[in-house]
């Protein structure tokens, strides 16, 4: 009864049903935080891959991963953007799927989607998004995201936001979390990422 009380206090009414398997639920999209919480435009570090968690509450097809970017001015610029879907087992991030895109943007705010390498129904659970952006010239592109907190120490027993300490032009197949920078403002930048079916 105590458990039921806690469940109800949390805003959930338990409904006792049959033991038959629940039908699979597919969402049209999943994002790493609600769109309405986007609060800032983050700069990026050239050829440095960031890792951020994304929780998938129900299955979603890895068809159209996307970010929202902003470019000022009126000069066309070309960017190579890579995105990786990673699982975490122990202290190892393993690449499960990837997508990439080369874009040329002149100005304004726009969605950028990626061409995925393979179809995949992402299962429920905790995943990580790796995101890397490269540009030959100017780095004058901002990614819609969330304000960063310059945390001074590394979290223990959990991987939150991070970035690779080494420069990389490709999504690594696997990476140990010890090779990641977990503290400071740069490591804790979090872009808005949405995965749409």
């Amino acid at each position: 009864m105590a458990i039921l009380g806690m469940i109800k206090a949390a805003g959930i009414i338990p409904v006792f049903g049959s033991t038959s398997a629940a039908p699979e639920i597919f969402l049209n999209w999943v994002d790493n935080s609600p769109l309405f919480k986007v609060s800032t435009w983050n700069a990026y570090s050239n050829a440095t891959i960031s890792f951020n968690p994304i929780f998938v509450p129900h299955k979603v097809s890895f068809n159209v991963p996307a970010i929202l970017v902003s470019v000022p001015g009126s000069t066309a610029r070309t960017f190579s953007i890579s995105l990786g879907l990673y699982s975490l087992t122990g202290s190892t991030l393993s690449l499960a799927n990837s997508a990439s895109q080369t874009i040329t943007i002149t100005s304004g705010i726009s969605w950028v989607s990626f061409v995925t390498s393979a179809t995949q129904a992402i299962s429920t659970g905790q995943w990580y998004i790796g995101l890397g952006i490269r540009s030959a010239g100017t780095s004058n592109l901002s990614i819609a995201g969330f304000s960063s907190v310059g945390i001074g120490n590394n979290p223990t027993d959990v991987l939150l936001n991070a970035r690779m300490t080494a420069s990389s032009t490709a999504m690594p197949g696997s990476i140990n979390t010890t090779a990641l920078d977990l503290s400071g403002t740069d490591a804790n930048r979090q872009p808005y990422v949405i995965i749409s079916a």
Partner: protein, 179 residues
């Protein structure tokens, strides 16, 4: 024995980061996508709204839509008339009289809202963020937008090609569904 959680409320948020809200044009249907993670009764929907002027009465039409392919289909609806007569332009609009009694099952759903204010230009959704001037449609499944045709009734179906997603349409308002 399996336990299926049934939510008492599905709350997007109740923030007001945008001081003036996001403009709602009179007779324009605004569409917002949202994910329901556990089933919830669809019989009480609220959203904060600011009238464009004082001492007006507005009628709000609200539809619940599902998306199959590129077609939004109306599955439930409700309406309410509200008088902004107490001098405070901001109110929580509540719609409780639905056309049918139903549960929203887990998945992605859409709410369409039409505001009709006689003699006034509409009002503002009290929104958690600013409206960004996005230059292209979202490349995946529909997230949000505005029905491109002016209407005073809830369409029974809408093709997503008739939903404007660009311009100042970064809409994501406070919508609260309670059981």
């Amino acid at each position: 024995m399996a336990i299926q959680a049934k939510l008492q409320f599905n709350q997007g948020n109740l923030h007001a980061g945008s001081a003036n809200g996001i403009s709602m044009s009179n007779g324009t249907m605004h569409i917002f996508g949202f994910n329901v993670l556990n089933s919830i009764s669809f019989n009480n929907v609220m959203f904060p709204f600011r009238a464009g002027t004082s001492n007006v009465s507005s009628t709000f039409l609200m539809g619940l839509y599902s998306l199959t392919g590129s077609t939004l289909t109306l599955v439930n609806s409700g309406s309410n008339s509200f008088g902004f007569t107490d001098g405070n332009p901001r109110h929580l609009i509540q719609i409780t009289s639905m056309s049918t009694t139903s549960n929203i099952t887990p998945g992605s759903w859409y709410i369409g809202i039409i505001g009709l204010t006689s003699g006034a230009s509409g009002g503002f959704f009290v929104a958690p963020n600013q409206s960004y001037n996005i230059s292209n449609n979202f490349p995946g499944k529909l997230l949000f937008g505005r029905y491109s045709a002016s209407t005073t009734v809830l369409p029974s179906s809408i093709n997503t090609t008739d939903v404007t997603q660009t311009g100042n349409s970064f809409y994501n308002i406070n919508i609260i569904i309670t059981a």
